[in-house]
């Protein structure tokens, strides 16, 4: 296996790539705090506008960032539905009565089946989910004839809508910030940045160098271990343990047949690696010189100033 990309890093050029990882890490944290401080939807929209401009300046494709959001779609939808249904403040926007009847149940079932079948195709899943939710509403609103079982009110309050939008925009902005960090920073630089930033933790006995070394070795071995897992899975599949087929009971045995060898190999590997490191004069806890150095430049200063301004801005807005 060759050239597997670890993490989300995508090689590229542009503003964000030239920043010191330390600046990026701190900036992202500070900007997140700033975003959390904003409590009005309008300020938040301004903030997301600023985030957009940053992406454009940094030549980062917005599509990329939104792909980073994908795993969190479910969370976003859940937040949205939760806010809409349970927030009971502000003016009433919608006040309807929904009916559970023989026809609406059939409609709901039909929509569910249709949704699951289409979703399995894998495309436009998010859109489908929204259409499904809308369809549910329409079905229960209008299919009221035959055997009405029960009715219940469906009320949407103004604050429900604003809050749900507010929470979602806030989440999107925050995720965008962290995606920019991981998209533009090599895992090794990220580790090194973290190491330097965690240095003060020495006071409470945490050695940031060790931590960074552990992370970088883990990163180094991820492709190797994936390769290994693939080999062992194939080897056990040759003995009839097909990880794709089979019942749950068989699955457990199959997973064990993968995990035990993986553990044994990982153990052997770590022992050999420790030997190799020790034989090259590595002594845990001893100071080492470093081949990779981090240097601040003018961009970092500019960025820091900008970030501090953002933070001050949101504090002022909050206080005033």
């Amino acid at each position: 296996m060759k050239n597997i990309v670890i993490g989300q890093y995508i090689p590229g050029e542009g503003f964000f790539y030239r920043l010191d990882p330390r600046t990026k890490i701190i900036s992202v944290i500070v900007l997140m705090v700033a975003v959390f401080l904003l409590d009005s939807i309008y300020h938040l929209l301004v903030a997301s506008g600023v985030a957009m401009i940053l992406l454009l300046v940094g030549k980062i494709s917005i599509g990329r960032v939104f792909r980073g959001l994908r795993p969190l779609l479910v969370l976003l939808v859940f937040t949205f539905v939760f806010q809409i249904l349970f927030n009971r403040q502000g003016a009433i926007l919608v006040n309807e009565t929904l009916t559970l009847s023989a026809t609406s149940i059939v409609g709901v079932l039909f929509l569910t089946v249709l949704w699951r079948m289409l979703a399995r195709r894998g495309k436009f899943r998010f859109l489908l989910l929204l259409m499904y939710l809308g369809g549910l509403y329409l079905a229960m609103r209008y299919l009221t004839f035959w055997w009405q079982i029960t009715t219940f009110p469906f009320v949407i309050y103004e604050d429900g809508v604003t809050m749900s939008i507010f929470v979602i925009v806030r989440l999107v902005v925050i995720i965008t910030l962290s995606t920019v960090l991981t998209l533009t920073t090599k895992p090794t630089d990220l580790t090194q940045g973290l190491e330097k930033l965690m240095r003060p933790l020495k006071v409470i006995g945490i050695r940031s160098e060790d931590f960074a070394l552990i992370i970088s070795i883990s990163l180094r071995f991820i492709p190797t271990i994936l390769d290994e897992a693939n080999k062992i899975m194939s080897a056990q599949a040759s003995r009839g343990a097909d990880f794709a087929e089979g019942k749950l009971k068989d699955k457990i045995k199959q997973v064990i047949s993968l995990l035990v060898p993986m553990f044994i190999i990982a153990f052997k590997r770590s022992e050999e690696l420790a030997d190799a490191m020790e034989s090259r004069n590595f002594v845990p806890g001893k100071p080492r010189s470093r081949i990779n150095e981090l240097v601040f430049n003018r961009l970092d200063v500019l960025t820091s100033v900008f970030v501090v301004m953002c933070l001050t801005g949101s504090i002022l807005i909050r206080v005033l």
Partner: protein
């Protein structure tokens, strides 16, 4: 005074069965010694003892007149390096450059000097074009060469190869052997642990281990004249020597062929 002095060395993991027993071995500077032995003969254990990864049960190891003990391991490991069998499990760095630097970082070599040395030694092992590559995109032979560069960069004078070619294909193996020959020509002391006789034929001297003891130790030519030494320790002689051993001595022409077969084995 020899460069490496191993005296009465014994080792055991449990205290009961001895993995190594009363090993005595003197190695001179610039020698190329092949340590041969069947699987489980204790040859890799010997390597680990020499670099201080294991502590002997009894006996001593001196390298360049320094006794190997806890306080001196750091100094000893500046003089002696080891390339292990599995290319993957000794690649510490995220990239080739980082891996060559690893040992130097431990020795607190300043960054500017490291960069210079990385360039120099990467070129030496033919890896200059791969400095920013990750191990996943390198072949086994390339990884072993990076390991060598990392050791050389520490100014090491002795390199142990612990079955370092056994996971490589014949092509990569021959290539690595060429690099090792070059190191030897430059005065590096080579200790090659192997069970491959063809590989051992490049050494000046053979040490054969059998069940934890030194079974034979001598110049290559001398030992190859004693086939029983190999037969009794689960090893094979090189094909040419085996054929030579089957030919009669009473015929001039056959004698000439025999002589040539010996020559052939040595000049690989």
């Amino acid at each position: 005074m020899s460069y490496i002095e191993i005296e009465d060395l014994s080792f055991s993991y449990t205290g009961k069965r001895k993995i190594l027993e009363n090993i005595n071995l003197l190695i001179e500077q610039g020698e190329w010694v092949a340590v041969l032995g069947h699987n489980g003969s204790g040859k890799s254990t010997l390597a680990k003892l020499m670099i201080g990864l294991l502590d002997p049960m009894s006996g001593s190891i001196k390298i360049d007149s320094t006794l190997l003990e806890e306080e001196t391991t750091y100094e000893i490991r500046k003089k002696i390096g080891i390339v292990f069998q599995n290319p993957d499990n000794q690649f510490v760095g995220v990239t080739v450059k980082d891996d060559i630097a690893f040992g130097m970082e431990n020795l607190l070599v300043p960054r500017a000097e490291m960069l210079e040395k990385i360039d120099f030694f990467a070129r030496k092992v033919g890896m200059s074009d791969f400095l920013d590559k990750e191990p996943a995109s390198l072949s086994g032979g390339q990884k072993q060469r990076v390991a060598i560069a990392g050791i050389l960069a520490m100014q090491t004078k002795i390199i142990i190869f612990d079955e370092a070619t056994s996971m490589l294909d014949p092509y990569a193996r021959a290539e690595l052997m060429d690099y090792i020959r070059e190191l030897h020509d430059e005065g590096i002391t080579i200790i090659m642990i192997t069970h491959d006789i063809e590989e051992a034929m490049l050494a000046d001297r053979l040490v054969i281990l059998k069940e934890g003891k030194i079974h034979a130790d001598g110049a290559k030519k001398q030992l190859l004249g004693q086939p029983e030494v190999f037969e009794t320790s689960s090893l094979e002689l090189p094909m040419a020597i085996r054929i030579a051993g089957m030919l009669e001595n009473n015929d001039d022409k056959l004698k000439a062929v025999k002589e040539y077969l010996w020559e052939f084995s040595f000049d690989r």
